[in-house]
């Protein structure tokens, strides 16, 4: 409170209001509350069997109402026939001649009044039955709906681990994302090192510009460029067949390879920049000194450069993993039905299955996975959040 009032003295009431209202809106209204609501949604579970029972009961009631309507119409007709008992027979002789299609379906035609009365009583009895059944259905519906009500519970989370189709996809997504992160790290470290240490200042400026351009090209387009290269008559297959390494086009997209290739390409620059930024702050004399002392190349990297670049490596890995595990663009474009990504399962829950509770639970599991990965990297590289945000 004291901090707020000193802030107010320093910056005036209007600015203070703006700053605090802005931050509160963002922090609560856009970050915390939506996340909490998503978690709450994920904890709401409705039993699929109960839901099925509800819809069954509803359908049966609908059927009964249709039957009731039909029976009531028939009762009215029979009664009309009874009223005009004789006329019906006269009508039948005349009508039979003049209107062969008239009164069609009238089973009562030519029936005696006694017969008609018996038919009416039978129908009225049936109507009573129908009413009883509808009442029974209605009370059953109340119970079924109660059973189908979303309830607080962890069932949505258990579902993921008992679902034999989705569970392997979840673990595959994690494992593949780690693989993408590792590949990106191995490919990027030399690039970042070269840019930060070996290249002249002018060259670095030019090359950085060269990296910024693909960085700012739309993720969809970057992925699309690989979709073209990897398609069955794409350049890669043309080349492989051309030099005789393959007889028929390889279907990259049916397995995971296309997705992995696309992801490394799409997210590799998120690895380069953080590592470059930290290596760049390294005092180059340290490398010279290590070299003078006769340290072989790999040892200079292992003992001088990498320890210094730790925060950058941690940030690069965190970003790459997070982007890969949470990517929807790349798998949806480069994958196929046989190589689904976990994010696609989540999307289906929201926009095809309509089960938002389950979707929210899956999303939360993904979030927890990313948080665990971040914490692991922070522990492993001994960096804190401030380092990461740089």
């Amino acid at each position: 409170m004291e901090a707020i009032s000193s802030f107010r003295n320093r910056y005036g009431a209007i600015l203070t209001t703006y700053v605090f209202v802005g931050c509160a809106t963002w922090l609560i209204g856009m970050i915390v509350a939506p996340q909490l609501l998503m978690v709450q949604k994920s904890l709401m579970y409705s039993d699929p069997a109960a839901a099925a029972a509800v819809s069954q009961t509803k359908a049966s009631t609908d059927r009964l109402f249709v039957e009731k309507g039909r029976a009531e119409r028939e009762v009215r007709k029979v009664e009309a026939d009874i009223q005009a008992g004789g006329a019906a027979e006269a009508d039948q002789s005349g009508g039979g001649v003049f209107n062969p299609f008239g009164s069609s379906g009238n089973q009562n035609a030519g029936a005696s009044v006694e017969e008609l009365e018996a038919r009416r009583d039978e129908l009225i009895a049936r109507l009573g039955q129908i009413d009883d059944e509808i009442a029974a259905n209605d009370s059953a519906l109340v119970d079924a709906e109660k059973a189908a009500q979303p309830r607080l519970g962890l069932q949505n989370y258990f579902e993921l681990f008992s679902n034999d189709a989705n569970r392997p996809i979840f673990f595959k997504t994690i494992w593949s994302s780690i693989l993408v992160t590792l590949i990106a790290l191995i490919v990027c470290y030399p690039v970042a090192f070269y840019l930060a240490v070996s290249a002249s200042k002018e060259t670095t400026a030019l090359l950085m510009l060269g990296l910024i351009v693909p960085y700012w090209v739309n993720e969809i387009l970057r992925t699309f460029s690989w979709l073209m290269l990897l398609s069955s008559n794409g350049l890669i297959n043309q080349a492989l067949i051309g030099i005789g390494l393959a007889d028929t086009p390889i279907d990259w997209r049916s397995g995971n390879s296309a997705v992995l290739i696309g992801m490394v390409y799409a997210y590799i620059l998120f690895m380069v920049f953080p590592i470059y930024n930290t290596v760049e702050t390294l005092d180059k004399n340290q490398i010279e000194a290590a070299r003078d002392l006769g340290a072989p190349r790999w040892m200079i990297h292992w003992t001088v450069v990498i320890p210094h670049a730790k925060p950058g490596i941690a940030v690069g890995c965190i970003m790459t993993f997070m982007l890969a595990a949470g990517s929807y663009a790349v798998p949806v474009m480069l994958g196929s039905t046989t190589s689904k990504w976990f994010t696609e399962i989540i999307y289906d829950q929201f926009y095809e299955g309509g089960n938002w509770g389950l979707g929210s639970a899956y999303a939360f599991v993904l979030l927890i996975t990313c948080i665990l990965f971040i914490m692991m990297m922070m522990r492993l590289f001994r960096v804190n959040l401030q380092d990461i945000a740089k």
């Binding site: 707020i4 000193s6 693909p214 700012w216 460029s225 350049l235 949470g326 994010t343 999307y347």
Partner: protein, 307 residues
């Protein structure tokens, strides 16, 4: 000098090996940049190839510009651009406003809870985009507002504001708060201080942050695809088009995007260099002025201040 030490130690490496080792980093960099650029180049070539479906760079059967014409005749795509622009403008306004408020609070509040606040406000950057889309969708849906442009704008701003905040914090850390005190001391109101001193100092960051916010919004797919509901944006339309029925129109759009990116990168570099050059000139003049220091005419002081 250090290389000689190395060769002495491992004296038997043949010359060709030395030659290779020396050039290895350069070769690696060339390969890396080929890897970065070749896919984009092939994608752009296909935009000018007469071959229609699926688009491909090779074999190049003939030069044409017809795909650009087809692109501009594609009404749904153009409508999607409109949506993207609306969301982008909303995101600029919202992210700059929120990001600046966060940056001001974090650089200027003296309280212990600051680091927790910071952690929460940067957390959207470390959250997968789809989570932000889903949580925003769920949140607004429970208030009866379905996915659409509004929800997408909010979902995107959640993390784009964090980017803006980090940029503002970096700028504000180089800000001499004495300037604000000086203005206040000379009689400016708090609002005047903000608009005369703080905002002009932040202006370059406001421009770059706004630009980056727009680009982030324009290209965003992962967050938007969840928050957009039944509406669409250019990026989402593009993904659907590229995935289901790719035509060279997609490539034509790619050419335009990449060209714009390159132009902006070049403009940025030119601006950076001219700024550096101007600063150099200023410092030069200050040095010159040092030499030409003139003594104060004290009587004149009396005359003017008495007036």
């Amino acid at each position: 000098m250090t290389d000689t030490t190395l060769t002495h130690r491992t004296g038997s490496i043949p010359a060709i090996g030395d030659w290779f080792m020396e050039r290895l980093p350069g070769i690696y960099m060339v390969l890396f940049f080929l890897y970065m650029f070749l896919p984009l180049v092939f994608m752009m070539i296909a935009a000018f190839n007469t071959t229609a479906v699926p688009p491909t760079a090779l074999p190049f059967e003939g030069f044409t510009l017809k795909w650009f014409g087809a692109l501009f005749a594609n009404a749904p795509l153009l409508a999607a651009i409109g949506n993207s622009l609306v969301i982008g403008l909303g995101v600029i306004v919202l992210s700059l406003t929120l990001g600046l408020s966060g940056a001001l609070l974090i650089t200027r509040l003296h309280a212990r809870s600051k680091s927790a606040l910071y952690a929460i406000l940067v957390s959207p950057l470390l959250t997968p985009g789809i989570i932000l889309g889903i949580s925003t969708l769920v949140f607004w849906n429970s208030a009866g507002i379905p996915g659409g442009l509004f929800v997408a704008t909010l979902a995107q701003s959640t993390f784009i504001a964090s980017y803006c905040m980090l940029m503002f914090i970096a700028r504000l850390q180089r800000f001499d708060s004495g300037l604000e005190e000086a203005a206040l001391d000379l009689g400016a109101s708090h609002q005047q201080v903000f608009w005369h001193v703080t905002v002009p100092f932040l202006k370059p960051t406001i421009i770059t942050a706004g630009l980056i916010a727009f680009l982030q919004s324009f290209e965003n797919f992962n967050t938007t695809v969840f928050a957009i509901g039944t509406e669409t944006t250019l990026t989402i339309k593009l993904a659907a088009l590229a995935r289901k029925t790719p035509t060279p129109e997609v490539n034509a759009l790619a050419v335009i995007f990449i060209a714009l990116t390159v132009v902006m990168a070049i403009l940025y570099e030119v601006k950076r260099r001219s700024d550096a050059a101007r600063e150099k000139v200023m410092a030069e003049r200050a040095k010159q002025a040092e030499k030409e220091m003139v003594s104060l005419d004290i009587d004149k002081v009396a005359a003017t201040t008495a007036a």
